[in-house]
Amino acid sequence: MQTLISYSKMLYMNRTRVTFRVDPKLAAALRQVPNQTRFVERALKDALGKSCPLCRGTGRLVGGALRVSDFREAALPRLERAAAVPLKGLVRFGKRMQATDLELEGRPGGQDVEFRIARDEETLLSGRLDTNRGAVHLN
């Protein structure tokens, strides 16, 4: 009996009771689940572990400015009109996606420009910009 009491105490240590209200249909569905506590616990952990990559679970966007490579520093050729328009589109995309960087790099021997739109270390979109035709080719 003493062993049983100790075992019960161990089971409920560091546990906090949580009570919440749900609509009747959900409550009925939950009652069908064999181990409701474990089921709800797993569902909560799963949801909490998948926070929004944009707001990081805060509900607020705190993105800073998008850093775009400087053409002079990157030794890129002057941007022609045909390529300026799609580049503007890439910048706008990056800002909408709360990207942190739009990196540009010249391709050796050509007029094409490689681009990479990233949010911190994560690449969101990459490809090359054909500066002659103004076409965007995605990787």
Binding site: V68, R72, L79, R81, A84, L87, K88
Partner: protein
Amino acid sequence: MAFVITRLCRDCVDQSCVSICPVDCILEFRGEDPHREFPNQLYINPEECIDCGACEPECPWEAILEGEDVPDIFKDDIALNARTVERPNDFAVPEVIDKIVPSPEQVRANKHKWGLNE
């Protein structure tokens, strides 16, 4: 060095450059100006400018130049453009309105007005 919109833009304000700029660094002044420090022209934010050069050929008044190519008589315009950095809340990207393209004579006359004789 970033590109600069010189005084050749004043009261012309074509705005073709605004449409082409990939990073929206070409701005108009919208703040209070009791000391008349900000003439009616567009400004390039030098910290936002990525030196792509797309804007320069777009201006029919030839008002946009690379920083190091700005003639001595227009050197003050470099600092004027830089005011966009110290007063960011007073500048914004303008809404583009189509303007009539100036004739070569008008472009020459505008340059002459500002002391730029070619």
